[in-house]
Each structure stands twice: as structure tokens, then as C-alpha cells.
């Protein structure tokens, strides 16, 4: 059967998506750790240093971002063992 226009030919699309979602889940804490360590590169001290107010906003913004991402991912995640079923349904 020819794929719908605009979509590449790929079988078991749902299972593939689930596996990539799990990859993303694994990467999320790494991503978060890097973002939260970034402020260490900022200039310090009272003269030309960054203010704690800005740092506070930055850190909480990262927090909200990570929580949002985790929320979306956990919604889309299916229980283990469901990948095979998803693939069956996809066929």
C-alpha cells in the first residue's frame, strides 16, 4: 500500500514513536542538569556579576520547562508491552 502523501514509508509507526519517547525520557534529566549548571558560567561578584533575582527567574523557568516536558511525555507514554500491540494495530 502506498504511504499517504507527505509521509515517508515506515511501518510500526506507533511503536517507533514510543521507543523515541523513551529515549527522550532518558535524556530529560541530562538536559535539565546542563541547564541548571549553566549559571555557573555567569560572571560573579557584586560589580559586573549577574543579580540573584535574574538567576532565580532563570532557574524557575527551567524548572517549569522540565515539568511541562515530563508531563507531556508521561501522558503519551504507554505501559510496557504496549509497543507490540501498538505495532500490531499499526499494521
Amino acid at each position: 500500500m502506498a504511504p499517504p502523501p507527505g509521509q515517508p514509508l515506515f511501518l510500526a509507526r506507533a511503536g517507533y514513536r514510543q521507543r523515541r519517547l523513551r529515549d527522550a525520557l532518558r535524556l530529560l534529566p541530562v538536559f535539565g542538569a546542563i541547564l541548571w549548571m549553566l549559571p555557573l558560567l555567569w560572571p560573579k561578584g557584586s560589580d559586573e556579576g549577574y543579580s540573584n533575582g535574574n538567576a532565580l527567574i532563570y532557574i524557575f523557568a527551567v524548572w517549569v520547562l522540565l515539568i511541562g516536558a515530563a508531563l507531556l511525555m508521561s501522558r503519551r507514554l504507554r505501559p510496557e508491552g504496549a509497543i507490540e500491540e501498538a505495532e500490531d494495530a499499526d499494521r
Partner: protein
């Protein structure tokens, strides 16, 4: 003005409220209504015991002293939860598959169910956590003191001590009441979890309320609060990179390794899917907890007089503004943080102490081991209660000894660094099959020693434990052993220094010793089980189905989890094998499931020791070792598929075999029945004929005539009785019997049966508990009475004890109400247990029995017609019969 007494009343009524919450939750769970108790939101809220009083009060003080560094304490756990797919998912799966009861149990179980490792981890946790409990007691007393000071009173040390003592006693009571109600095979405590979930809401609400008041009530909105931050003492980003990363790592490690966190994360987890929800909900919770910390700190620094304790800003800022209601709410928040932490930490520690220290010592001190008489449950529960008391007492003593001063404030992070020593071994345990017991012990002891030397002992203050000279020059003048400058590297922050060296050397020793040592078979087996938990959650097979006797196992399991539950588990296992009764075949799977069941109550190492006493020898078979070996992975996969197929076939085959055996037995029985019946009829007939012939011949004395006629009559009566019985049985078997349902009480029926059984004086003694017998019945009471009479007179006939005794026990089990008739004789040998309900089966001496052996067969038919059952109950000491009473609806349906 809020009086101190009023505050005490508020605290007490809050505590009473928590008792009620816990009690109601326990009740609902006991009624099987635990769906809402195990909702993901409850799970997430229970994780909030991470936020103790140290974070509730201390975070603001921390922020006032060192800016944004306090955030690291929350960033680490957030990262761990966001990365649940890596570690937590695996931990939870392992915890559920292997019924892990604590972090010590995890380590012990993974490394060949080693008792020594369990002890090491337990001791480490006690040393690390007891000061932390002391810190919570201190925070409770300090918060009371703030209110007392506001009221004009200045507290003496003795006042503070008594508050701490009463708090510790109250917490011990709560923990004993709700933490040790039962020995659940899953080690879950619905009451406690519900109470800490409520406390989680209270502390979040309290901190948010104070924060909102500070930002919009005092600060004048978000923009002006930010401005206030810009002009405060902590306006500038001056964070040290080492501490920022080090503390984030440390809090992440502690989040996984703290006994209380492990308890709520893994042990109390009801469903793996809850982790997915908690992965975003818990970071949200801690984000909200830390949201207003900086504003409160800045405003506190601004408006309170210099020198005020910033650790108590959460209380003193609202108080200084005359907001007593808000201050009380905030007090309750801090109180909640402290109490929930202490309760869960104490349960977790007490479980570890009782499972890994007390019970093993107690078992070893008895030569006959797990087969002793008496109820082990009571002892395990008592050990746990005593441990709870001991842990809290230790916390209180630590509080007193340390003087409750500033030395305690630093203990939070020191405690984190202590329990973080478990992290390398824990990660190795679940990700690396090559990790061995010796490596784990070496790593743990190294880390523990370095932490103690470089961080814990110096924390008692200068010259308190380690003399100044040692701090400055090293022990015996060895320069590179100086506690805060190991290997001569000077000038690092002491906390970072200790964490860095202890974790590094801990991990190095762990890996090195694992590489050069060799694991024993059980270790390798458990290692494969843990590391590949997702591939085969089925569990290891460590048992050869040799000498283990189902009845011995039943006796042991009854003593640990109680007779009712044990019997129903054995019955289910037997039914799954297609067998009737209470004794399944002792297959490796069955032994293993029993071992897991017990490990839920007493820990893996102890359960393993107990089961191997019964099964005689902890043998690991060749197949198990093949299963462990990497090279055999493909064979394993293939064979597991085969196994799944063959399990099904085995069940069918077993059912067929049983059916075949029954058919064969039936055909033999039919022949035997005919010959039996002719024999039974013939004997009285012969004597009747002989004596009537003698009478017919005449010429006898009147005395002799009477005697012979009497014999004829007696034999005729026996014949009639036999024919009655046979008729009765035939009618019952053909289902032609008409039942006459009546209402009545069980105790009346038993009274009647006991008197109708015609007990002789000096014969069997009947022991009953009338209190349990108040069960109303709707069934054919005459027929049921017939069954009771039969069982009682059987006991009278066959019980061979010196002082025969029959216990009649009425109790409720899952399937309904049962009446057990247990005598104290030698019981019925297993081979006979199968056939006693068959027709004409009599045991031993025929003459003594005086019946035709139809009694039990009739009983069984009657009970089947009534919709109940009668069965032999093994493992009770003597002969025991269980009558399962018909359910009222069973009869109504007929």
C-alpha cells in the same frame, strides 16, 4: 495574644486529627476499599517527606546566609524524578518482584541474601539518620520556643527538653500504632501514607500562605519584591561551582538512598505507573516549596532586627506583623514536616533493625531455628516496636548530648553525605552483574570510614571527639591523614572534601574488590535477577524439589503470616496445580513464592534461612547456573518459551493424571464396595442364622434363650443401621434428598451435637470459645448437626492422646465461616488423608470403630448437598477437620 497553651492545644488537636485520618485510612484499606488510597496523587504527596523541618524552616535561613545555594537541595531530587526511567523504574520493579522491605534488604538480597551486608547498611543508616531525627525534635522545640518568647516567657533548657521528650514519645506512639499493625507481606502502611499525604498538603499550604503574605502583603507585589531582592545582602550571583554541583549530586544521591525515601519510593509503591505521574508532580511540589523562600528571607532580613535567627523567619515574620493565624498555620506546617519525616524514617529504620539485626540474632540463638513452637509474628512485631522505641530514643539522646545547639543545624547535609555512601553499591547492584558481596562490603566500609573520619566526627565541634592537634597535624603526626585535608590536599570546603573522597574511594574499592573476588552461586543468581529484572521477572529457581514437605512449609508459614492467610495461599497454590486440599506439590516455583512471601515480612536473608531449614540445604542447581551464564542467554530465551508452553501442558497432564487415578480407584472401589457390603451384611446375617437355628432346635434354658434372642436383636439392629446408612448415602449421592432449611444459631447446634455425641465421663474434653460461635445459620440444621455429631464421636473414638482433647474453633476466612475440629492425637498419616472420605475406609483397628466406615462419606455428601464442604486440615498437630459452612445465598439459590 496567642497564648502558649492555646498553641499546645492546636498542636494536640492537629495530632488527633492525624490519628483519625490514619485510622480511617486503615479501616478503608481493611475493607478492601483502597483504590483511592493508592492513587498516584497520594504516592506523590507521600514523597514529600523529603521536605523535612530542616527544609521547611532551614531553607529560608540557608537562603539568608548563602543566596540561591539552598535550591540545590531541591534540584537534585527533581533531576532524579525527571530521570525516573533510568533508576527508579528499575528499583521499583526489583522492589516489587523481590518484595524488598528496605534499602538494607535490597543490598542484602542482591548480594546473595547476605546477612552481614544487611547489618552494615543498617548500621550506616542508623548513624546517618539518628542525628537527623534529633534535628527534627530540635525544630519542634525551637518553634514552640518562638511562640513562648513572643508571649514574654523565656524558656529554660529543661522546658525545651521536655517538649522534645513529649514529641518523641507521641511520635513513637503514632508509629507503633500505625506502623506495626500487621506484618503485611507487602510492607505497606495505608494509615501512615495517608497521614503523611495530608501533612504534605498542610506544609505546602503553610509555606505558600506565608510566601503570598510576604510578597503581596508586605513586599507590595512581584516587581517590588524583586527590587527588594536586588538591594538586599544576597543580591548577587556569587555561587561556588563546586558546592553547586556537589550539593546537587549529594541531594540526588540522598533522595535515592535515605531509608525513608527508599521506603516511600519503592516499598510503599502500589503501582509502577505512579512513577510516571510523580515524575512531573513531585518536581512541581518541590518547586512550589522553594518558590517563596528567597522573598521570605529577603523580607525577614529587611524588617526584623539584626541578629534574629533566619532559620525561624517563616514563623517570626508573620508574628512580627501580628498575623497570629498565619503564624499558627506556619507552625503546623513545620510541625507536619518534622513529624512526617520522623514517622517514616523510624518505620524504615525499625524494619531494618528488626529484619537484619534482631530477628537473625534471635533465630540463631535458638537451636531449632524457624521450626520452633509459637507464633513468630508476635516476635517480629515486638522486635519492630522495640526498634521504633529505640530509634526515637537514640534521636532524643543525640539531641540531648549535642545540646540542641548550632552543631545540629549542619547535620542535614552531613547526614546526606553519610547515606550517599550506599549509592555506588546500590547502582552497582542494579546495573552491574559483576558486583560481588565482598566488593560491596569493602566499598561501604571504606566510604563509611572516610565519612566518619572527615565529616561526621569533626561535626561534633573542635576538640569534642577529634582533638585539635589531630585536626591540624593528622593522627600520630601523619600529615596526609588530616580529617579535612586528606592526602595533603588542603583548602577544600569540608563537606565537598569529605563527599568527594568518600564517594570516590568507596566506588573504587567496590569496583576493585568486585573485580578480584569471586561470587558464590546464589549471588550470581540474584545478580542476574536484579540486573535483568525487565527480561525475566519470573524469578530465580534456587530449589531442588527434594526433601521439602508441604506440611512442614505450611506449619512454618502459618507461624509467620498467620493460619488463615497461610491456608488460603496453600489452597490456592494447590488449586493452581489442579489439586484439592491444602498441600500443593513442592515445586521449585512454589518454594520460591513462599520464600518471597516470607521475605515481605521478615526480610530476604531471614526468609531464605528459614525456608532452607525446611527444604534442607540451599542448593543451586546446574540449570540455575546455566541461566546465569551469559553464553546461555539464547538457550534461556528458548527454554523460557518452552517453559511457558509446557506449564500449560503440565497442568493438563496433572489434571488428566488425577482423573485417571480417580477412575482407576473408582473401579477398584466399586469391586471393593460390593465385596465390603456383602461382607458387612454377611457377618450379622451369619450370627442371626446360627442363633435362630439354635433357638429353633429348642430345649434351652430360659436364661440362654433370652441371651441368644438378645444377640439376634443386636445383630439385626446393626444390620438395620448399616442399611439405613447405605440408604442415606445413596439418597444423598443421587441428589434425591429433600432439605429442610431452618434458622438457628451455631452455638445451639454445637451444644446439641456435643450432648448428642454421648460423651463419656473421663472421655474426651471439648474446648470451645463460645464468643466466636455467635453465627446465625440458615440451612438444614438436622443434617448439619449430623455432621458435627459424626466428627465429635470420631474424635472420641480415634483420638489416642493420654488426655484427649477436642478443640472446636469457629472463625472467618476468605471463603466464609469455618468450624475446625482439632484433636490432640497423632493425626492421620498423609497417605490416608486422601481416602478417609471414601466409603468403608476405616483406619487401624476395625473392632474399636464399631461402624461400617460410612460416617465421613455421609458427612461429605451432606456438606456438598448443603453447599458447604468438609475437608481434612493438615498441619494442626492432631487430626483436624474443617467444616466450611454453607453461605446463606448458596441455599437460597437452590
Amino acid at each position: 495574644m496567642l497564648t502558649f497553651n492555646l498553641l499546645v492545644a492546636v498542636a494536640l488537636s492537629y495530632v488527633a486529627f492525624l490519628f483519625i485520618v490514619a485510622f480511617v485510612a486503615e479501616r478503608r484499606a481493611a475493607q478492601g476499599d483502597d483504590a483511592w488510597l493508592s492513587a498516584p496523587v497520594i504516592y506523590t504527596l507521600s514523597l514529600s517527606i523529603y521536605c523535612t523541618a530542616w527544609t521547611f524552616y532551614g531553607a529560608v535561613g540557608y537562603a539568608a546566609r548563602s543566596g540561591l545555594e539552598y535550591l540545590t537541595i531541591y534540584l537534585g531530587p527533581s533531576l532524579v524524578m525527571l530521570g525516573w526511567w533510568w533508576v527508579l523504574r528499575k528499583l521499583v520493579r526489583i522492589g516489587r518482584t523481590h518484595r524488598i522491605t528496605s534499602i538494607a534488604d535490597l543490598i542484602s538480597s542482591r548480594f546473595g541474601k547476605s546477612t552481614a551486608l544487611g547489618v552494615i547498611v543498617t548500621l550506616l543508616c542508623i548513624v546517618g539518620v539518628a542525628p537527623y531525627i534529633a534535628l527534627q525534635l530540635q525544630s519542634i522545640t525551637l518553634s514552640f520556643a518562638v511562640f513562648a518568647g513572643e508571649g514574654g516567657a523565656v524558656w529554660e533548657a529543661s522546658d525545651l527538653n521536655s517538649v522534645a521528650l513529649w514529641s518523641a514519645a507521641g511520635l513513637a506512639l503514632f508509629t507503633v500504632l500505625f506502623g506495626t499493625r500487621n506484618l503485611d507481606a507487602n510492607e505497606r502502611h495505608h494509615g501512615v501514607v495517608m497521614a503523611i499525604a495530608v501533612e504534605a498538603v498542610v506544609k505546602l499550604a503553610a509555606l505558600l500562605a506565608v510566601g503570598i503574605f510576604v510578597v503581596w502583603g508586605i513586599g507590595g507585589g512581584v516587581a517590588s519584591t524583586l527590587e527588594r531582592i536586588e538591594t538586599s545582602d544576597i543580591a548577587h550571583w556569587e555561587q561556588s561551582g563546586g558546592r553547586w554541583m556537589g550539593l546537587t549530586f549529594l541531594s540526588a544521591a540522598a533522595f535515592l538512598c535515605l531509608p525513608r525515601m527508599f521506603h516511600v519510593l519503592v516499598v510503599e509503591n502500589a503501582n509502577e505507573r505512579h512513577l510516571a505521574t510523580a515524575s512531573w508532580a513531585f518536581p512541581t511540589y518541590v518547586m512550589l516549596m522553594s518558590l517563596f523562600v528567597v522573598p521570605i528571607a529577603v523580607v525577614g532580613l529587611d524588617i526584623l532586627p539584626a541578629g534574629s535567627n533566619p532559620d525561624l523567619f517563616v514563623l517570626s515574620v508573620p508574628l512580627s506583623q501580628g498575623r497570629e493565624g498565619l503564624a499558627t498555620l506556619s507552625f503546623l506546617g513545620g510541625f507536619s514536616s518534622a513529624t512526617s519525616m520522623v514517622i517514616v524514617a523510624t518505620i524504615a529504620l525499625a524494619t531494618m533493625v528488626s529484619n537484619h539485626i534482631v530477628v537473625p540474632i534471635w533465630l540463631r540463638s535458638r537451636s531449632q531455628g524457624a521450626m520452633m513452637s509459637g507464633d513468630v509474628r508476635a516476635i517480629v512485631l515486638m522486635a519492630r516496636r522495640v526498634s521504633i522505641g529505640a530509634v526515637l530514643a537514640l534521636g532524643y539522646v543525640y539531641y540531648r548530648v549535642s545540646g540542641g545547639g548550632g552543631a545540629l543545624a549542619a547535620i542535614g547535609l552531613i547526614s546526606f553525605a553519610g547515606v550517599a555512601q550506599i549509592l555506588p553499591v546500590m547502582l552497582g547492584a542494579i546495573f552491574w552483574r559483576g558486583a560481588t558481596r565482598i566488593g560491596a562490603a569493602a566499598g561501604l566500609l571504606t566510604g563509611f570510614a572516610i565519612w566518619g573520619w572527615s565529616l561526621f566526627l569533626p561535626s561534633f565541634g573542635e576538640d569534642a571527639v577529634i582533638p585539635m592537634s589531630v585536626m591540624a597535624q593528622g593522627p600520630w603526626g601523619i600529615d596526609w591523614l588530616r580529617p579535612q585535608a586528606l592526602f595533603g590536599i588542603d583548602g577544600i570546603d569540608p563537606l565537598l572534601h569529605a563527599t568527594f573522597w568518600s564517594i570516590l574511594l568507596n566506588a573504587a574499592m567496590f569496583v576493585l574488590c568486585s573485580l578480584i573476588s569471586f561470587p558464590n552461586p546464589l549471588e550470581r543468581l540474584q545478580g542476574a535477577q536484579f540486573v535483568n529484572v525487565f527480561e525475566h521477572s519470573q524469578g530465580a529457581r534456587a530449589w531442588a524439589p527434594n526433601a521439602a514437605q508441604a506440611e512442614d512449609l505450611l506449619i512454618m508459614v502459618q507461624r509467620i503470616i498467620g493460619p488463615g492467610q497461610a491456608q488460603s495461599i496453600f489452597q490456592k497454590a494447590a488449586a493452581a496445580q489442579g489439586k484439592e486440599g491444602y498441600l500443593p506439590d513442592v515445586t521449585p516455583e512454589f518454594v520460591q513464592s513462599i520464600e518471597r512471601l516470607l521475605s515481605g515480612s521478615v526480610g530476604a536473608a531471614t526468609a531464605h534461612a528459614m525456608v532452607s531449614q525446611v527444604t534442607e540445604g540451599a542448593s543451586v542447581s546446574v540449570e540455575d547456573l546455566i541461566a546465569v551464564a551469559d553464553e546461555a542467554a539464547q538457550i534461556l530465551e528458548y527454554s523460557s518459551k518452552l517453559e511457558a508452553k509446557s506449564a500449560e501442558q503440565e497442568r493438563t497432564a496433572r489434571a488428566l493424571r488425577d482423573a485417571n487415578a480417580k477412575l482407576t480407584a473408582l473401579s477398584i472401589q466399586k469391586d471393593a464396595f460390593l465385596s465390603q457390603i456383602s461382607h458387612e451384611l454377611r457377618t450379622p446375617m451369619t450370627s442371626i442364622r446360627a442363633f435362630s437355628e439354635i433357638l429353633q432346635d429348642g430345649g434351652l434354658a430360659a436364661e440362654a434363650q433370652r441371651k441368644y434372642a438378645g444377640i439376634i436383636q443386636e445383630e439385626a439392629t446393626r444390620l438395620t443401621r448399616l442399611l439405613d446408612d447405605l440408604l442415606d448415602l445413596t439418597v444423598l449421592e443421587n441428589g434425591q434428598v429433600v432439605l429442610h432449611p431452618q434458622e438457628g444459631m451455631l452455638h445451639d447446634l454445637l451444644d446439641r451435637a456435643v450432648s448428642a455425641a454421648g460423651l463419656l465421663d473421663g472421655g474426651i474434653r471439648i474446648v470451645r470459645r463460645k464468643a466466636d460461635e455467635g453465627v446465625s445459620l440458615l440451612t438444614d440444621l438436622d443434617r448439619l448437626g449430623q455432621v458435627f455429631i459424626n466428627l465429635i464421636s470420631n474424635a472420641q473414638k480415634y483420638c489416642d492422646a493420654k488426655t484427649p482433647e477436642l478443640r472446636i474453633v469457629v472463625h472467618r476466612v476468605a471463603g466464609g465461616t469455618v468450624v475446625d475440629f482439632v484433636d490432640n492425637g497423632t493425626g492421620i498419616p498423609p497417605a490416608q488423608q486422601q481416602v478417609i472420605f471414601e466409603k468403608f475406609s476405616r483406619l487401624g483397628d476395625h473392632a474399636r470403630a464399631g461402624g461400617a466406615g460410612l460416617g465421613l462419606a455421609i458427612c461429605r455428601e451432606i456438606m456438598e448437598r448443603l453447599g458447604g464442604r468438609v475437608s481434612y486440615l493438615p498441619g494442626q498437630g492432631g487430626a483436624a477437620f474443617r467444616v466450611t459452612l454453607p453461605k446463606p445465598e448458596a441455599l437460597a439459590a437452590e
